[in-house]
């Protein structure tokens, strides 16, 4: 009764027939394994590829767009930045520490593969409610995994995001973004070229780690049976990665590599076929040369192993000895495992036997492409027809409930576990809007913000996704950085469901429109489908990672802790909108039904908010975008961080919590007057209370202790 092997490997009958068509024969076992993983959703993007072309990807400053290991943009004066975002959702559910740790390791390899030194990481993460011990275990495990790997490998983690919602309980989202810096002449690409050049495998020994992991973990839905897949957990070794980073950077410095590729999903089979195909070449690979951890591995296991911390460098035969000596100096293993051929075949030998011979390019270029059916899901009609009803009259009390929310409360329990200062670049670290790094030896600064909001995107994927781009843009703009380029991580449910595909296509459309409105190219991304458990899909959760350039960087960039007694508080941006409670934090925290239709953002207002922020970042002591929890939370964040109260002007209770987009809070000295023509004064910093006039008041001390305890009190 056993299923045919291709189906056990997650391949459809049609995909199998396509393989037979390419090879003009039945595939050998190792070949079938290679196609099954390379044609998995995770590696081939077969359900999403048709839509990703919608993203705007061009701008004069884009050096490398989507398709390579990381996007690369020009910062001027010979400096380039490489960045990328990845998900490690399913592995983190199976083993939170190692899942998150290997996620960090993987994204860093994408960066130094490009020739860049990785200089920072961000970690947007999502879990089920902290009321459940299992979720607490996953959350603290993921945070220690990111800390354990990131700190030891020596790359600081400068920020991220965290959300809690039971839709993520059995399917946490662990996304990691990394940024690297390089000089223009250091840029390297993956393409193998030059017949006779040698493929050198660098780094950790190949073991039986995560074999088939990519296809099994990333492409199949989770159910109780997933427990059986546990032995395929991969263990990360940050020490090996640190040595690998230094060795590779020295190889580039000395001009010793022709091309280089990291080993990720599908290990050696993916790295060899991709580098050969990208160079329009072929490759002969000898598996007996691979340094392995266990003696009796089968050729399929060696080819498919996902052991971490490995790279495949293409070098000339003349340089081979120097390359091996350099690897020895850094105390990493290296073996010459292949030779570049004119192609187009990838030929793999093991103990004198041919175990695979296939057109290198067919693994990627001939991968299936699906135009999956798209349909508006049923929940949308009811959700859109229903208004959000909330009693928000007790403003101080509602504010305290928001500050006690672990997604809004102080995140320092997370980020104090991360080294966020290494390299001495961190001008604004975690705990503010965007992070800001200086580039030493220049006047420039780089800013990054990561943003996601699954609840809003569920109710309105197009508007919700567009808003992420606008929010991220404002978060970097308040540091003085102009939005430059974006990466995205599209975390969605099962694409075989038309409703999920609708969420997906709407989301891509929304992000694309917003990127066009702000002139932001998308230079890379990642799609994670099949985030469902027992048939229930997660919220559509796109996460954007935006890079901005401050040139020059403000001398003294705005911070949340610089408000002082006597300063005025101003609001910039449209304050009279409706429909901004749908999908809001206050609706979630007060337990309202998850309904309503979030209003669409306004591209013109978004542009003007970004421009205002950019100008004010050079003069205002405090500049803060209004995000989760609306105005009340944004004001409280300033008061808590600055240790000063605020006398606020009268306004309608609900308007303290609505999450209308494109708004900024600015603090200025009294004598400075309005910071912008459209600014409206809404209060004055003074005393020890956040005073909402007739709505009541709350002391800064109470607000602060509630906010500080939001995460810790749930863990201990």
């Amino acid at each position: 009764m056993s299923e045919p092997i291709h189906r056990q490997l997650g391949m459809t009958d049609g995909e199998y027939d396509a393989v037979v068509g390419i090879l003009e024969r039945e595939p050998r076992p190792a070949e079938l394994a290679m196609y099954s993983v390379m044609w998995s959703e995770h590696c081939s993007y077969k359900s999403s590829r048709a839509w990703l072309g919608r993203f705007p990807t061009e701008a004069p400053w884009v050096v490398v767009g989507p398709g390579e290991n990381a996007g690369v943009v020009d910062l001027g004066d010979g400096w380039l930045a490489a960045f990328r975002i990845e998900s490690h959702n399913h592995p983190s559910f199976v083993e939170p520490y190692q899942g998150a740790a290997t996620g960090v390791g993987g994204i860093l390899r994408d960066i130094f593969t490009m020739g860049a030194r990785p200089i920072a990481v961000w970690d947007p993460i999502r879990f089920g409610s902290l009321d459940d011990p299992k979720n607490r275990y996953l959350f603290s495990g993921v945070v220690s995994g990111i800390a354990g790997y990131g700190n030891a490998v020596g790359v600081p983690t400068l920020g991220g995001e965290v959300e809690f919602d039971d839709v993520y309980a059995k399917n946490p989202l662990v996304n990691v973004m990394a940024l690297g810096l390089l000089r223009r002449e250091q840029l390297v690409l993956s393409a193998a070229s030059g017949v006779g050049n040698i493929a050198v495998l660098l780094g950790a020994a190949t073991g039986r780690d995560g074999i088939g992991g990519a296809s099994i973990l990333a492409s199949a839905s989770f159910d109780e049976a997933s427990a059986e897949k546990r032995p395929s957990v991969q263990v990360g070794d940050p020490f090996e990665e640190k040595k690998l980073i230094e060795a590779c950077l020295e190889l580039y410095d000395r001009g010793l590599v022709v091309g280089i590729q990291d080993l990720g999903a599908a290990g050696i089979s993916c790295a060899t076929s991709e580098s050969a195909a990208n160079g329009g070449m072929g490759m002969d690979v000898d598996l007996d040369r691979v340094h392995v951890r266990e003696a009796d591995m089968t050729p399929g296991e060696i080819l498919m192993s996902e052991s971490q911390e490995r790279m495949l460098a293409i070098v000339t035969p003349e340089d081979l000895d120097v390359v091996l000596a350099l690897a020895a100096k850094w105390e990493i293993d290296a073996s010459a495992i292949g030779t570049v051929t004119a192609g187009p075949q990838l030929k793999v030998m093991h103990r004198g036997e041919l175990v695979a011979e296939l057109p290198a390019a067919s693994l990627s270029d001939d991968a299936p492409l699906y135009h999956r059916p798209v349909a508006v899901p049923e929940y949308i009609e009811t959700a859109w027809a229903t208004e959000v009803e909330l009693d928000l009259r007790d403003v101080p009390n509602v504010l305290l409930q928001l500050l006690d929310d672990p997604a809004i409360g102080d995140a320092s329990w997370i980020y104090e576990q991360y080294d966020h200062q290494l390299f001495l670049n961190t001008v604004i670290g975690p705990g503010h809007d965007g992070s800001l790094l200086r580039i030493k030896g220049t006047d420039k600064g780089l800013a990054v913000s990561t943003d996601g909001n699954g609840r809003r995107c569920y109710l309105e994927p197009r508007a919700g996704s567009a808003r992420l781009v606008y929010e991220a843009a404002l978060n970097v703009a308040v540091t003085g950085a102009k939005p430059l380029a974006m990466v995205d991580n599209l975390n969605f449910g099962n694409p075989e469901k038309p409703g999920v595909m609708w969420q997906f296509t709407e989301s891509v459309e929304g992000m694309s429109e917003a990127c066009e409105a702000l002139g932001i190219p998308v230079v890379g991304g990642n799609v994670s489908f099949y985030n469902e458990t027992d048939g229930v899909d997660i919220f559509p959760t796109p996460v954007v990672g935006l890079l901005g350039l401050a040139d020059p960087m403000p001398q003294s960039p705005p911070r949340l802790d610089r408000a002082e007694d006597g300063m005025d508080l101003w609001l910039v941006g449209d304050d009279e909108r409706d429909g901004d409670l749908a999908g809001s934090a206050v609706a979630r925290v007060l337990g309202a039904p998850h309904v309503g239709r979030p209003a669409s953002p306004d591209p013109a207002a978004a542009r003007s908010a970004v421009e205002t922020a950019l100008a004010l970042a050079h003069v205002a002591p405090v500049l803060h975008d209004v995000g989760r929890g609306g105005l009340a939370v944004a004001v409280a964040e300033i008061c808590i961080r600055s240790g000063v109260g605020c006398d606020l002007m009268e306004r309608e209770a609900s308007s303290w919590f609505e999450e209308s987009p494109h708004r900024l809070l600015v603090a200025t000295a009294k004598e400075d007057g309005p910071p912008a023509a459209s600014a409206k004064r809404i209060g004055t910093f003074t005393g020890t209370n956040i005073d909402f006039g007739t709505h009541g008041s709350v002391s800064v001390a109470d607000a602060a202790s509630t906010w500080r305890q939001a995460i810790p009190r749930r863990l201990h």
Binding site: A204, R208, R230, P231, V235, D237, F239, E240
Partner: protein, 80 residues
């Protein structure tokens, strides 16, 4: 009563710490070292004198907290 718990990494999983220690030992001149495996050993002191109960309890502690079932195997025994 003292119960000794021995926790070892599941076979086949990578042990970077062991590999690093093996390399260091060979560098120090212990060239006969072929491999090193790292484990943890934990002594749990419990009140009471029902040995079987204590063993069952400690096994339960291992499953719930002390060992990571995804990565590790464990054994327990009563120390005299």
């Amino acid at each position: 009563m003292k119960i000794q718990v021995e926790i070892t990494r599941r076979p086949g999983l990578r042990d970077p710490e062991g590999a690093t220690a093996a390399r260091a030992l060979r560098d120090l001149g212990f060239t006969s070292v072929s491999d090193v495996h790292f484990g943890r050993s934990i002594v749990v002191e419990v009140d009471g004198d029902d040995r079987d109960q204590a063993l069952t309890d400690v096994e339960d502690m291992c499953r719930k907290l002390l060992a990571n079932p995804v990565l590790e195997d464990f054994t327990v025994e009563v120390l005299d």
